[in-house]
Structures are given as C-alpha cells and as structure tokens.
C-alpha cells in the first residue's frame, strides 16, 4: 500500500514536470527575423541617403533625367504604334494570307501588351514630373509591405504548422531599466491589478523605451490565422 502511494506520487510528479514541456514544446518555433529581412533582395537595394529603394518605383529621379525618360518612352510608343499600323496595312488591308491569320493575331497581341505597358509607364512618369521626380511615400510603404509579405512566406516555410512563432532573443543581454523610488515593473500591475502601479510604471516610460532600443531583435508573437 505504501509502495503504491509512492508510485502514484512518482507518476504524478513525472507528468507534472514533463507533460507541459512535451505539449508546449511542439507549439513554439523560433525564427530569425533580422536574417530574413537582411537576405531579402529589396532590402539590399535600400539607399540610406535618400530613404528609397534603388531601381524601384520609389526611387527619386532628377527632373532632367525624367524628361529624357519621357521623351524616350514617347518615341518608343510611337514606334510601336507605327509598327502595329504597318502590320495591319501589310498583312490585312493590302495582302492577306488566311493560313497565317492566327500568327498575325498573336503578333498583334504581343505589340498591344507592349503598348499598354509603355502607356502605363508614361502616365506614371508624367505624374512624377508634377512632384519634381519624387515619388509619393506610399511607393516606399508598398515595397515594405511586399518585403514583409515575402518574409512571412519564408518563415512559414521554416515553421512547423500550428505553432507560435517567437523571434530570436536579443543578441546582447539587456539589463532591466532602473526605476526611481523602487517602482515595480509592468508585471506587478498585471499580478496585483492596482491601477496606481500602472501610473507609476508609465511615469518611467523613458527608461523602459531604452530597453527596446537596446534589443536588436524584438520578440514577435504570431497568432494562428494572422
């Protein structure tokens, strides 16, 4: 009987210690957000001086260069339209070969696609002339959104399904901020539920922000379905 009691206690202790580890261990995974961001090709093209991404729609173009580009595009567009007219004149109006008709329509579709792209590009460049070649900040935001989208796809490949993703912990140990008059941290507010604790904590926001500045890799919490 005594042996039985000891055995049951042993089993309870065993499950108490090991079961939470085995269940929670499967639902967490770590990623290195900084590495993923640094490895993205667009991050590499970021120009710190201008705050824009090189060779993208966000890049600042000097007005003189922009004028040249518009002239080139207009010339190239006129050439494409003239080429299309010439094809229609020679292969439809003046001479027509029924056996080559499908090839003719394919050729026209290719030229139409080129013309459409050039027209869109020309409209964008002309719009840019009104702002002296400085694209709207939304172009930068769109690129950043694209980078984040790619990074999310990358880290989803690396993580097991149904897991909570935690970013790699800060590279350098960061000491907790020293609060005046022995004030407690935010944790004590959550434990004690005393609003006065939160007020005291917020008074030291300047010191707390230093903690985040010193952390090179913030912790990222990913809820399932986000």
């Amino acid at each position: 009987m005594r042996f039985c009691k000891k055995f049951v206690t042993f089993l309870l202790c065993f499950f108490y210690i090991f079961t939470p580890l085995t269940t929670t261990g499967q639902s967490f995974s770590a990623i290195d957000l900084e590495r993923l961001l640094r490895n993205h090709p667009l991050t590499k093209s970021y120009d710190h001086k201008s705050g824009r991404f090189k060779n993208t729609a966000s890049e600042i173009i000097p007005p003189e260069k922009l004028s040249q580009q518009i002239a080139q595009l207009e010339s190239s567009l006129s050439a494409a339209q003239a080429k299309k007219s010439e094809i229609i004149r020679s292969s439809v109006l003046n001479d027509f070969d029924a056996e080559k008709e499908e090839q003719l329509w394919d050729k026209l579709k290719t030229i139409d696609n080129t013309i459409e792209k050039q027209q869109q590009e020309l409209a964008q460049k002309k719009q840019l002339m009104h702002t002296d070649g400085i694209p709207d900040i939304s172009t930068v935001v769109e690129i950043i959104k694209g980078i984040l989208r790619d990074v999310r796809i990358d880290y989803r490949k690396e993580r097991p399904p149904n897991s909570i993703v935690i970013n790699r912990l800060p590279r350098f140990p960061t000491p907790p901020p020293t609060l005046e008059n022995g004030a407690d941290g935010l944790l004590s507010f959550f434990y004690r539920g005393d609003p006065a604790k939160l007020t005291t904590y917020l008074k030291h926001a300047y010191a707390i922000s230093l903690l985040f500045d010193a952390s090179s890799s913030p912790i990222l919490y990913q809820r399932e379905g986000d």
Binding site: S85, R89, S91, V92, L93, W105, L108
Partner: protein, 260 residues
C-alpha cells in the same frame, strides 16, 4: 420615327422615377454566397454591348459607314443588332438627365447612337472581310464574336439573414475587331465580358429592387436603378448590415466571385 422617340421618352421617364443620384448600395456591407450558377455555351452574344464598348474605346472617331458584326448569329443576336443605335440613344439620353447617375464619361460624341450595326453570318474571318473591304471608298469597323458563354448566377447576402439577393447574367467571349481604314488602320483581339446585375430584397419586384446595373456602358458600370430610400429603410430596420461611413470601399460595387 415619332413613335420610336415617344417610346424612348416613356422609358426615360420610367427609369428616372426609379433612379437616384448616388450609389446607394455602398451604404450596406454584403457577404455574398453563391446559391445557383449555370454556364451555357452560346453561338453568339445576345446583345453586343461588350463589342460596342470595345469598338468605342479602340476607335473613338468611329467608322464612316457602319459596323459589321460577324458571328454564328441566332435570332436574338440578329434582332438585337438592329437595336444597338436605339439602345445607345437611350443611354446618352439617360446620361444627360440630371436625375440619373449613369457614367462619368461624356457621351456627347458617342458614335454608337447613330451608326448602324449589320449582323452577318459569314464564313469569312474578320481579317479576311476587312481585306475585302479595304479597297472600298468607305471603311467599316468589322467585329467578330466567338467562344461565347452565358453565365447566370444567383447570390444571397449572408449579412441580411439570407433575404437580399443578387442576380447576375453575364456574357463572356472573344472579340476581334478591325477598322479597315487605310489612313488609320486598327486591329485588336480581346477577352470581353458584359453583365446585368439586379440586387433585390426577398423578391425581384420593382418596389424591392435595390439596384440594377449594366456593364459596360462606355467602359463603366451604369446604375439604371439605385434605390437609396429602400436601402435606407432596410438599414434602419436592421434587415441589411450597415457600413460605417469611414469604411467606404470602392470594391463594394464589384461582382461576387463566380464559382468555377
């Protein structure tokens, strides 16, 4: 001729009485679920509305004679081609009316409302016919329609306790058009679609129609009926889910996705 215009006036007055100046359906949030969908193969479009819009966009100056429309025509398409100018006269007249929101495009120089359409069941292709017409003194626009489908779909709005419906009838097909004008020749192939959408509450009765729209009229979706009083009444009664004013979404006018 006088009789034709009197019919036109009656139709304008009728539609004016039903229409409003705003796109009222942006006031509600719909969650469309497909209830019914059929895809049917057609020998030719029932009405060449997508063809007309494509021709108008590509050749704004229009033909100097007529539009020749080639397809495997049915009785419907033969009949409908005769009504193309009348239909666009009606659209131009509605657009001029200050009571109706139709399209932001100015239809002042809209050649579709006076150029006749000739439906032709020809074995010749569009390009071949354009070649034959090229040496003539006039230069028509030749349009070919093939690979045509008709889609009929009924959607129900889950946000309205399944009481608000949207019926969509859509034509899809391939269009090839050639303008046999030696001075300014034009040829283009494109995939086109045209639709009519009716959004109604419970039953498709005139007093329960929230909106009736057509696409494309000069490349735009035209709202012939957009009943703001009905929508406001349904929103106030909680029959429809209202959209917060700050949450205006231009895509609220897009069609729901069709099932494959």
């Amino acid at each position: 001729m006088q009789q034709k215009y009197s019919i036109l006036v009656v139709v304008i007055i009728l539609l004016s009485s039903l229409s409003c100046t705003t796109e009222a359906c942006s006031l509600a949030i719909h969650d469309w679920k497909s209830v019914f969908h059929r895809k049917l193969e057609l020998s030719s479009p029932i009405f060449p509305i997508a063809e007309a819009s494509a021709a108008w966009r590509s050749i704004p100056e229009g033909p100097d004679s007529s539009v020749i429309w080639i397809s495997k025509h049915s009785v419907f398409s033969y009949l409908s081609s005769a009504f193309v100018p009348v239909f666009f006269q009606l659209m131009s007249a509605l657009n001029r009316s200050s009571h109706i929101f139709l399209t932001p495009v100015n239809l002042h120089s809209f050649w579709l409302d006076h150029i006749p359409w000739l439906a032709l069941s020809s074995t010749d292709s569009v390009a071949s016919l354009a070649h034959q017409k090229a040496d003539k003194s006039f230069s028509p626009i030749i349009i070919g329609s093939d690979k045509n489908f008709l889609r009929i779909a009924l959607f129900v709005d889950a946000n309205s306790d399944n009481r608000c419906f949207q019926l969509v009838i859509m034509q899809q097909g391939r269009i090839r058009l050639v303008h046999a004008n030696p001075a300014k020749p034009w040829a283009q192939e494109l995939q086109a679609s045209a639709f009519i959408s009716i959004i109604f509450y419970e039953l498709p009765l005139p007093e329960r129609i929230m909106s009736l729209s057509l696409y494309p009229i000069a490349e735009h979706r035209a709202f012939l009926i957009d009943s703001e009083p009905l929508i406001l009444r349904l929103l106030e009664g909680g029959a429809l889910k209202s959209r917060p004013p700050s949450d205006y979404d231009p895509s609220s006018f897009e069609l729901p996705e069709f099932p494959e």
